[in-house]
Symmetry: C2
Subunit: 339 residues, 2 copies
């Protein structure tokens, strides 16, 4: 395998041209002349130069470590994903190191640099809410390091990804409320500039449309926290516009709505049924317990880690990027089942 | 600074003795003769050998990364600690990589190896429940890598540590119940083979003793989960042994007790006052809200990271290990304040 150690610099030295010219010639860059491209390619072939020498040399000196970049570990969903990743990594003799972007683009870039300089064998990323420039992520791929996205993906980068079918899950959550007899269903929505907020709203709308329930815009409210749900409920009561069902974009919002309703003497689920999303640690400890969508964080972690391991153990040429879409399950509990 | 590169092996070669003899001679080990010690020390001085050459050489090629080994990131407390660590690290131009032991001694050892082989500049550790052999931790120190323990420390290792005064916090939590008028106070305790369970019980006992309330053993119950609290309450009701106050070892236990009491028609705090421990995400969303002990995870993180940074930037000889004990605060809420 010594031939793998031929580098772009060797070719540049022999031909008396710059390394960046060699690099661009190998990539068939339009700025480079046909003559130069032919010379570079001929020599590369003779010397058995491997375009992904970096990746191969890294593979030959594996660190047996994979890196994970995650927005916020405080979320139960993300910590479940990490458990799944760690179990698969451990089965393969790998150690996982985790970096938290804390929803900051700058930290995500720093995290990426740190993982690359520590020569991890592969990287799993869920991008921060504020990441719109993806250069640091394409840098990972250009370094020859396998990359898999999970949950929050960078649109437009060709890489493996594992995601949840948010629209379908929200559709089923809303349909469940309709089937339980609700006629006026509110949606407490997330920020609609985020894909996640948009998909969950779309699922809600799809279920209403299918059941021929007209959309009442006064029942679609941007409220994605405990406090915002509290205020939204007070307002709905004040304007005598109370729904008989609420589908909330996350569990804490659902719980905020539930408690405010209960304090006002409104019975859950008899007068208002409630469904949350993401089935965190809270759903089992409320009274009544909360119907919610289980996003299968652990399964997302094992799936993403298995894709990464496959990518590490096979050479990158032999595989095309895959997208795996996991189905989320609705877990029906007390908050939506009328006695 | 080339003189830093003189190693123990150089001295051993020149004197014709083994490296381990040189190492022990430099440490003034009793097994080594005075003559050998003198020869080694003389040569070391002439060659300007630095005992901590490893540490210095690592410092000269800093990775600007620190590693954290944490039992379980799913706990709100630990994720708060990480936020504190990351903020201090970021201010110092450092990136944090996190490894989760998942309460497994074996994974903790693997994590340690991974962080050492990635040449992090310092390591922060909170040990797993199952760690009783500390060799991997002394290995860190012997590699010349600064080490700081937080929350769960390895007894007997001389290193910086940041801990919470658990006994004092539990004493204050119990005293608060006494001052609110409770006469029969139960303690829902953690496993008593763990220091944390023992300290919290001791704090409870100290408060009772001070108030001359006799200890009723039937009111000290090993119950440290939502389900165990539920069962414990049912049993107390069945045996007509209900207390008028409960100090629980953690918040989920307190919430389990509260909900079971409420389902049986018992009013909180009018009939039973409840205090939890660790002030996680749940305490604000229960009804009534839960009185609990705030362990200041974020502050623990910043304190530990600052100690580590000081250790990284100063050479180890110039400092002696420090123990910082943080005071936890009781946050009084609805579950213990009679109207």
């Amino acid at each position: 395998m010594r031939s793998n150690q031929i580098t772009i610099k060797d070719i540049a030295r022999i031909l008396g041209i710059s390394a960046s010219t060699v690099s661009r010639a190998l990539k068939n860059h339009p700025d480079i002349s046909i003559e130069t491209k032919n010379a570079v390619n001929d020599l590369a072939e003779k010397l058995k130069y491997q375009p992904n020498a970096v990746a191969l040399s890294l593979k030959n000196s594996r660190s047996n470590t994979i890196g994970v970049i995650i927005p916020e570990i405080v979320h139960y969903f993300f910590s479940s994903v990490i458990s799944g990743i760690e179990d698969v990594a451990s089965q393969n003799g790998y150690t996982v190191i985790i970096c938290q972007s804390n929803e900051s683009y700058e930290r995500e870039v720093e995290n990426t640099k740190a993982l690359l300089s520590h020569r991890v064998d592969g990287i799993l990323v869920s991008i921060s809410k504020n990441t719109t420039d993806f250069t640091h992520l394409t840098d990972i791929q250009e370094s020859g390091i396998p990359l898999v996205f999970f949950d929050r993906v960078a649109n437009g980068i060709e890489a493996d990804q594992v995601i949840i079918d948010d629209l379908e899950a929200s559709y089923r959550a809303t349909r469940h409320l309709i089937e339980s007899g609700c006629k006026r269903i509110a949606h407490f929505a997330g920020p609609l500039n985020l894909l996640i907020g948009q998909h969950r709203l779309d699922g809600y709308l799809k279920a209403l449309e299918e059941a021929r329930i007209p959309v009442d815009k006064s029942l679609i409210i941007e409220a994605d926290s405990f406090e915002k749900a509290h205020n939204a409920i007070l307002e709905l009561i004040e304007f005598r516009n109370l729904p008989d069902g609420i589908f909330a974009v996350n569990d804490l919002t659902a719980i905020g709505a539930m408690q405010t309703l209960q304090k006002k003497g409104i019975k859950i689920p008899d007068q208002v049924s409630i469904v949350g999303f993401s089935d965190g640690r809270f759903s089992g400890i409320t009274d009544p317990t909360l119907t919610s969508v289980d996003q299968h964080g652990y399964e997302m972690g094992t799936t993403a880690a298995e894709m990464l391991m496959e990518h590490i153990f096979k050479s990158p040429e032999n595989r095309t990027p895959e997208i795996k879409i996991l189905q989320a399950d609705l877990i029906v509990r007390g908050s939506s089942v009328k006695k």
